[in-house]
């Protein structure tokens, strides 16, 4: 599978390195995207003169969502113009070969351009799939956030594999229990039963056009959308790891979106999608910049205003995993929870303490929470499985 026919594998390797760089930061960039990027570089007129334009084209190919879109300019600059970005990127040991986007396009044209674009693309395909430089490129870019203390020393090393399996089955059981709700259009209909004309007529063809067995439209029920907010502040240090484990189980079982917060809020769903021992470290890296303390109300505000703005509806289910100690003004927590409720979402509060949290903020916010559930161990979760619907 080597590509000896390619005289200069350099541009493709650089591109593969860029793809690896993007993947490292949570982008979904496969061979298809890389191929499209090569195509774009070959076809876009003026790509040589205006690398920025090529950057825009690649942005459209590599980004698959608003989150990717916002992170792109930084990642692009970090890879192609590392000398310009300040801070975080650190080169250790080996110096990196200069990356120049113009050069890359030039070389791409030289090596692939003349043979027509289509054969060029297939050649690129094989070269990309086993690019030897990829691993190198991966190791080269270890810049980014530092991994700080906080949580990872309190590991769940004593967990046995069967515990993990148990957690997963529990999560699946709870996810299956989450009540499926009727979609809106069926609530409005008094009978909830309507003739499915298309099916009826289709069936009637068998009986010569006489609708003997009418078909009815079935009301649809859908699972709620699950949002899990995990408090990772100091006061929750001992529990955060368990909570993240549990949250991960629900990402797998119910496609939940998971956020962590202490003074600010950040989404960690992409980090939790793959099972690895390093989940905790990845989350630490995300939250490393946060200051100490807990600002639940501010985080909730950010949650319903920015992150989940469009998805918080009648079918949303919000789980907050926190002890309820809030550094914001006590009245705000209630207000923010009311705002979340106002969108139609249902709120369940999981607390590690034996009793329901009774901080000033929580007392005020209590009416907004549908349910309080204790959660300090796996056993609690299995008990909770019967409560949740």
């Amino acid at each position: 599978m080597s590509a000896p026919s390619l005289p200069t594998a350099q541009p493709l390797a650089a591109l593969a390195g860029f793809a690896a760089h993007l993947r490292e930061h949570g982008f979904v960039v496969g061979v298809a995207e890389q191929q499209a990027m090569v195509q774009a570089a070959l076809r876009l007129p003026g790509a040589l003169q205006q690398p920025a334009r090529l950057g825009e084209a690649w942005r459209a190919i590599a980004c698959h969502g608003a989150r990717d879109w916002r992170r792109w300019p930084d990642l692009f600059q970090r890879y192609w113009q590392p000398h310009r970005s300040t801070g975080s990127t650190r080169v250790s040991g080996r110096t990196r070969p200069p990356r120049d986007i113009r050069q890359l396009v030039q070389q791409l044209h030289e090596s692939l351009g003349e043979g027509g674009t289509k054969p060029g693309a297939t050649a690129a395909d094989t070269a990309l799939s086993d690019s030897p430089a990829e691993g190198e490129a991966l190791s080269r870019h270890q810049g980014g956030a530092s991994r700080t203390e906080a949580l990872h020393d309190r590991s769940l090393h004593e967990w046995l594999p069967q515990d993990l399996a148990l957690l997963q089955t529990l999560a699946e059981r709870i996810a299956a229990r989450l009540r499926r709700r009727l979609t809106r259009r069926w609530h409005a209909h008094p009978q909830g039963r309507r003739l499915d004309l298309r099916h009826t007529l289709r069936r009637s063809l068998a009986t010569g056009g006489v609708p003997v067995a009418p078909a009815w439209r079935q009301p649809r029920r859908e699972r709620p959308r699950l949002f899990i907010l995990v408090d990772v502040s100091r006061s929750m240090e001992t529990h955060a790891q368990l909570f993240l484990r549990i949250a991960r189980a629900f990402v797998v079982a119910a496609q939940a979106r998971v956020f962590v917060f202490h003074t600010r809020l950040a989404e960690v769903t992409p980090l939790l999608q793959r099972d690895s021992g390093a989940v905790q470290e990845k989350v630490n890296a995300v939250t490393a910049g946060f200051a100490g303390g807990t600002r639940i109300a501010t985080s909730l505000d950010d949650f319903h205003r920015v992150h989940a703005r469009a998805q918080l509806g009648r079918r949303a289910e919000v789980w907050v995993l926190s002890d309820g100690f809030d550094a914001d003004e006590p009245h705000r927590l209630g207000e923010e929870l009311a705002a979340v409720r106002g969108r139609g979402a249902r709120i369940t509060w999981f607390h590690p303490s034996p009793a329901v949290p009774a901080s000033a903020a929580m007392t005020a916010a209590r009416p907004q929470v549908q349910r309080f559930v204790r959660l300090a161990s796996l056993r609690d979760l299995s008990l909770a499985a019967d409560l949740i619907d």
């Binding site: 334009r53 825009e56 459209a60 698959h64 990717d68 916002r70 200051a291 100490g292 550094a327």
Partner: protein, 311 residues
Amino acid sequence: MTTEASPQALRESLHRVGYIADEALATTLWLAGSLQRPLLVEGDAGVGKTALAQALARAEGRRLVRLQCFEGLDLSQAAYEWNYGRQLLAIRRAETGQGGGAASDDTALFSREFLLQRPLLQAILSDEPCVLLIDEIDRADEAFEAFLLEVLADWQITVPELGTLRARHVPRAVLTSNGTRELSDALRRRCLYHWLDYPTLAREIAIVRATLPDAEGALVKQAVAFVQRLRREDLGKTPGVAESLDFVRALHQLGHQRLPDEPAALAHVLACLLKTREDRFQFGPERLLQVLEGRKAGGDGVAVKHATPLP
């Protein structure tokens, strides 16, 4: 019916039909045409996602085929449906011996003649290249999204009774989404992606000028600047481009040469911009005056909220 040769040319022809695109958008749009990939446009309501597809159709002289998605949209509304009424008629006619016996066998009953074309099939079977707009794809169900994969990847639709129908000309597909639901990765990966943001001041002025050439220059500038300041406020529903167009149009028709200074004159025109009760309530005369004069909010504004974090 031409596909533009370069992003710049595409940008200019979009400009000619009154859509002011920035360079990144034009590049993406051009690339989508060049690679024959659908383009997924996301952004807040009212930033001109749908207008983009309409402008593209006009700029390239193509027909626009529009599919508006909603909850419960199914194949019979989106792709095709058999014309049961006509089929039954044909059967009856065959029974009574009129109209030749053509309809008596299956193949004749399930021919193109009895097929009702819905937007997706129209776009696929169109004799001339067209622009296919799939609007608010996030409102459709996941099942429908999965069906779209075949259409968008291979440009074909399979009708069990007829076989696979392939596109004669690959349509330029534009999908829009408001993010009410997370789209599947499979769909996202088949599309190019563009996040359409609120336009910059200069671009928005150009947009308003292009749409309302009669309005006075001073009025357009001041009104757009006002809307841009308003967008920075903490609003329940941020006004989009369509709203600022309405706003300038209303001021223009009321005979204003420039943006009125006193809040009282603006109060009723604000209905074009502020669309929720809370927003109207929040923008009383004093608050409005502050925004008019470009002052930052005092008291409990957003800036204050995120100031010094408590320990």
